[in-house]
């Protein structure tokens, strides 16, 4: 196992630069998830690590070795592709053996490795089937099996679950997590799904427009987003962001004023974005909460909870509320209560989180 280090990595296609000098240090045995919207450069970054894309600038090292110009096969990485990339003319066992046979691994060893891997992935009874005769989840497992049998230094996953339906995705997500705990291999995983990122990652790397917005443990990013982009990307639904102004007592949003933890002091009068997570606002006043009047537009029941779509002035927002089996009592909601300790303040201009020393 080995770590992966990216320093000032740049990727440009002609004059179009798509990755703008990113730095990332993936530690040995770590599960790092690159997450971001389409076109943010996450897949390109992964493909540069795999060696499928040339690196325009910067340095890439795997296990301490500079590998910018090393061929993919000599980087000792294995990649799981979004569309599985299974060879349709080979059966499951042959698909998994492909990489080993290319490397002229002795037959007995290949057989043993496949049997072991198939056992781990529950594919033993499908070894003689062709990919066309497998379900989506089974194909995904074969794709992972093909990576696992090689015992690579680093596993690379390129949106491996995005072709599966929602239920299967949840199931496979858990399986990948279990697999990682078992194999303890360095893994870099690309997804646009923040739930996958939150559940799988030791550390999440949020990317946007070819730069890294923030790196950190899932809960750290969730609790302390570095900027409005991260705040709006992680969490479902994402954090509500309202235009406001800092005052002596907290933050003024339209006609309302809500309390904020920390020293507003020298920031008074500053234009800010006030962030409140949908699940942090409550319907009943509590200790240290302040009132935020809202105009309710729509109640969406999800079962045990409901989403309240509302607006305050020009800002649209979504809050989560418990249904307790009925949504009748939610239709009359006209205000929510926001605990001061959970309010986030971002600079309106730069979008960066303001450190109020709370």
């Amino acid at each position: 196992m080995a770590g992966v280090t990216l320093s000032r990595i740049v990727k440009a296609y002609g004059s179009l630069e798509v990755v703008h000098g990113i730095d990332l240090d993936v530690k040995e045995r770590e599960f790092v998830v690159l997450v971001g919207p389409s076109g943010c450069g996450k897949s390109t970054t992964l493909r540069m690590i795999a060696g499928l894309e040339e690196i325009t600038g910067g340095e890439l090292s795997i296990d301490g070795r500079y590998v910018n110009r090393v061929a993919p096969k000599d980087r000792d990485v294995a990649m799981v592709f979004q569309n599985y990339a299974l060879y349709p003319h080979l059966n499951v066992a042959e698909n998994m053996a492909f990489g080993l046979r290319i490397r002229r691994t002795p037959k007995a060893e290949i057989k043993k490795a496949i049997a072991e891997t198939a056992e781990i992935l529950g594919l033993t009874e499908y070894l003689h089937r062709r990919p066309a005769d497998l379900s989506g989840g089974q194909r995904q497992r074969v794709a992972m099996g093909r990576a696992i049998v090689r015992h690579p230094k680093v596993f690379l996953f390129d949106e491996p679950l995005s072709n599966l339906d929602a239920k299967l995705r949840t199931q496979m997500r858990a399986e990948i997590k279990r697999l990682h705990n078992r194999l303890n291999a360095t893994s870099i995983y690309v997804t646009h799904d923040q739930v996958e990122a939150m559940t799988l990652a030791d550390r999440i790397v949020v990317m946007n427009d070819g730069i890294i917005e923030q790196i950190g443990a899932p809960m750290e990013l969730f609790n302390n987003p570095a900027n409005t982009f991260v705040a709006g990307f992680l969490g479902s639904p994402p954090m509500n962001q309202m235009k406001g102004q800092l005052t002596e007592n907290g933050a003024k949003i339209g006609g309302a004023e809500i309390k904020v933890d920390g020293m507003v002091g020298n920031h008074i009068g500053r234009d800010v974005i006030v962030g409140v997570r949908p699940e942090h606002a409550v319907l009943k006043a509590g200790k240290d909460t302040s009132v935020l009047p809202i105009d309710l537009d729509l109640v969406e029941p999800l079962g045990s909870e409901a989403l309240l779509h509302a607006h305050h002035g020009e800002d649209n927002m979504v809050f989560k509320a418990e249904t307790k089996g009925d949504i009748g009592h939610l239709s009359g909601v006209s205000e929510v209560h926001v605990p001061a300790s959970l309010v986030k303040i971002f600079d309106a201009e730069s979008g960066r989180a303001l450190d109020l020393g709370a």
Partner: protein
């Protein structure tokens, strides 16, 4: 509306829908379909007309294979003679030789001519330089668009003993000139080679299209796994286009009896009949030049039946062995 009423209504409807109504439904649907898609059927029409006029209507004349045909009596009024013409055919040395030549030339064509476009396509696929690739492709496609008469003219000139480039080069090497096109042993190599030159490039388009359809991530995955280009060609490209190869092979086997008739006519001469005369050229000489229409029709029918059986056999084999088939 109360539930009971709804129930009554639906049961009434079921009773009131006899088979006639269903038939009318099907008719209406068909009419609607034609109204909606008539442009597509219109585009199909010329092909159907071509098939009827040139392939189905002439089948009426096939009966003369079993008749003592006379142009004065016409197709319908000539007397039946059963299998007499077929008996004549199978005791005719020239016809049997033509059958044997057909099979042998076809076998050579299959052996050398069939793999040629596949190899070309694989080679084109390995060319990375786009404009070089386009130029190379255009050069090999060109002969397809040249009439067989001109192709034959070029071949005859190239192999001519006096001015031909082949004999000129042989002269430089100190070899005696050979009059290739009068030598029976040279006919087949020249014929098969000409066929490859004329059609291999154009034939490669089908395989190039098949190669273009291979999922690119298969190659990326193989690259990460450590495969080199040679291994990718053998282990990914060729297996991936195998269904196309098999379909083309079935079609080719179906055409085994149809050795390129024009090119044989243009390149052979009496001195090379022993290796060059095929069923179609024999039919042409007997039927059109000697006026034995009934015998020629019998030979043509024999040819067609053999081809028909071959297509069915090849298709069945392919379906059994590789799950790929024409129908």
């Amino acid at each position: 509306m109360p539930k009971t009423m709804a129930k009554e209504l639906s049961s009434e409807q079921v009773i009131e829908k006899p088979s006639e109504a269903i038939k009318n439904d099907a008719l209406t649907r068909t009419i609607d379909h034609f109204k909606r898609e008539w442009q597509i059927y219109l585009m199909l029409l010329p092909t159907i007309i071509w098939f009827v006029v040139f392939l189905y209507k002439p089948m009426y004349g096939l009966q003369i294979a079993f008749k003592d045909y006379s142009i004065f009596k016409g197709v319908a009024n000539s007397p039946w003679v059963g299998f007499e013409h077929f008996e004549t055919l199978f005791t005719n040395d020239q016809f049997l030789r033509a059958v044997q030549n057909t099979i042998e030339i076809s076998a050579l064509n299959l052996l050398f001519g069939f793999p040629a476009p596949i190899i070309l396509a694989l080679m084109f696929n390995e060319i990375l330089h786009a404009s070089y690739k386009r130029t190379a492709q255009t050069i090999v496609y060109l002969p397809h668009f040249i009439s067989s008469v001109i192709i034959a003219g070029i071949v005859i000139t190239a192999f001519s003993p006096s001015a031909g480039i082949v004999n000129t080069v042989m002269g430089w090497l100190g070899l005696d000139p050979i009059y290739f096109l009068t030598q029976p042993e040279w006919f087949r190599p020249i014929f098969v080679g000409t066929g490859i030159w004329q059609e291999a490039g154009f034939g490669s388009i089908v395989f190039l299209a098949a190669i273009a359809g291979v999922n690119p991530s298969l190659y990326e995955s193989a690259v990460v796994d450590g495969a080199n280009r040679w291994q990718m060609m053998w282990r990914i490209t060729i297996p991936s286009i195998m269904p196309t190869i098999l379909i083309m092979l079935i079609i080719r086997i179906g055409n085994i009896m149809e050795v390129s008739f024009e090119l044989v006519i243009l390149l052979y001469q009496p001195s090379t009949y022993s290796t060059a005369d095929v069923v179609n050229t024999w039919v042409y000489r007997q039927g059109l030049q000697s006026g034995q229409y009934d015998l020629a029709a019998a030979a043509g029918l024999f040819n067609a039946v053999v081809a028909f059986v071959l297509v069915i056999v090849a298709n069945t084999l392919s379906r059994r062995l590789s799950r790929t088939s024409l129908w």
